[in-house]
Symmetry: C2
């Protein structure tokens, strides 16, 4: 099936991550750059806190490689808030040409894909991708304010409070060793698998993940064994299991390589997040804080990173619509091994 | 100031437009492909109607050049609704890899810019850009349900009910005469000019338009006289005047070339739209229905199309934030003259 995958020639120079208190208490705690004990980051509103996380993440990602806004040509950003205001306000202080994205929880992969394409094609020497989510801001927008204390079903996921920022350049222009190379990518097709339960996003997104990964395997002629790791963004425990089953039905056993950022970021039995983490920030901080350093060191040689998004709104659910899903994929390779 | 403009090599093969009853009653009526007398397009909700407009627009744009979804490699789409559900649901029936955008009313230019870049760079042989807005859906989301009958101030604009879809390819791959060539582009920088009145979007967006156009003139070494037309998306009467003043203060007199889609789509004194049309659909239908045919015929030889967006949400306004603006620019040339 058309189209083929993208051939990319981009390098991720740096990444920075900012998380909330619950993520800081989780198993990946030591891998994140900044956290806030009260999830407020000194701001008066949860939405303001989310914006501040994006501002901090981009400042830190640029700072780690001695760059500042004058060095950046393009910025791709998005988040879960209505009209993506987390990004618009968070990155307002930077004078960098800005493309706003909406891919729900797939935004991290969407931004990295487009940022990689633009540096590969020479439209930008350096680009950045930033995304975020905030538990309290997302819960009150999509479900209930957290003060309400609503009960969450076992399939429900916990929106991660976190933001990740990435600085990219073309491989030729990378003046210092990058953390990872972005060698290939594939854009997702929006799918409706019939799920209309906003507390079961994993099931809504798993078919989109299967669609993209199957198309990618066919397009590249590769199989699960060609990768050290196949990571999804936030399918969680429920969606991750469904995804593995769907891939198995397509003839691909991915269980040996498969991990999910939403499963990795919280401790399953003690952090009370039910089906695991979710949100644009989930895959961004796990990739930026935990996985990219392993690619930089060569511990991971080649991996697929696929973030999936559930493209519904609170109103569309109330109007009885199903939840469409989409999944975007990147192939990341270690610069050490190559 | 960095960065320079993009050098593009894309061709717009076709465009299709769908509008509501008020746009059908306006001065450009004859130029639109489809309209609905009751703005419902056979759907039960305004949001469903908006999605249906997108579906129709893309079907028609592909159909005009004998293409269907199998021929398309990439789709860029976005709208004003929370989580961009107009696009997600409207384009769900197409099996085309999908990048969701959020640029508010700048989305038409943002989508065309990225779709042009991706075909120029060879990541896609054919791409499409689709956007929409719906008066009744936008009003109840951003201000009040239209049934409430709220009074609008003179600076207020009328959200256009409309959707435009565009099919693009690289110039080399254009097997039939295109409607227009996309030769250059420039991404906007998000700016906050201090406006926090959601009924004065023109004033909030004008500084972003000035920023992008001034940078473009400096980057290309061109001036207003190099273009037959300089068109903004929806600054309206209020914002358009401010924009011309701001450009004048920068040393550029654009009054001879300047027009605004929000001013063009409605009759000023009889259609009661106050400061003119707005919304993602406004610039999309005026460009697709009215301007592109003039480029195709050579009546317009070279023009700048710049759609601006106000990146606020209803909540961000209530929380006391200003309205950030962004403007993305395309240089469009006639294929006849070139």
């Amino acid at each position: 099936m058309k189209p083929a995958h993208f051939k990319l020639n981009a390098a991720i120079l740096s990444a920075a991550t900012v998380v909330g208190h619950k993520e800081h208490e989780g198993p990946l705690s030591a891998h994140f750059d900044f956290y806030s004990d009260n999830d407020r980051f000194g701001q008066k509103t949860w939405e303001g806190a989310e914006s501040e996380m994006q501002r901090m993440a981009l400042a830190a990602a640029m700072g780690k490689v001695d760059l500042d806004e004058q060095d950046m040509d393009l910025l791709f950003a998005g988040d879960l808030l209505n009209q993506c205001v987390g990004s618009a306000y968070g990155l307002l202080s930077y004078d960098i040409p800005y493309f706003g994205l909406y891919g729900a929880c797939s935004t991290c992969a969407e931004g990295l894909l487009l940022a990689s394409a633009m540096v590969t094609a020479g439209f930008a020497a350096k680009s950045a991708a930033v995304t975020s989510s905030h538990n309290a801001a997302a819960e009150r927008q999509f479900r209930f304010p957290i003060e309400y204390g609503g009960q969450r079903p076992p399939t429900g996921q916990w929106t991660v409070t976190g933001s990740g920022a990435f600085v990219l350049t073309s491989v030729e222009a990378a003046v210092r060793p990058p953390m990872a190379l972005v060698t290939e990518g594939m854009a997702g097709i929006v799918l409706d698998a019939g799920i209309n339960d906003a507390n079961n996003m994993g099931a809504a997104m798993a078919p989109a993940a299967q669609s993209t990964l199957s198309r990618y395997f066919r397009s590249t002629g590769t199989s699960p064994d060609d990768y050290d790791l196949i990571v999804t963004g936030d399918l969680g425990w429920e969606g991750g299991r469904i995804f593995c089953d769907l891939m198995s039905a397509e003839g691909y056993d991915i269980t040996r390589q498969y991990q999910d950022c939403g499963q990795m970021i919280f401790t399953k039995n003690t952090q009370d997040t039910h089906s695991g983490g979710s949100g644009c920030g989930c895959s961004a901080v796990v990739l930026g804080g935990y996985l990219l350093p392993k690619l930089a060191s060569g511990e991971i040689r080649r991996m697929l990173f696929m973030a999936t998004g559930a493209l519904m709104s609170p109103d569309s659910i109330k109007q009885g619509n199903n939840i469409p899903g989409v999944g975007h994929l990147l192939c990341l390779e270690s610069p050490v091994i190559r």
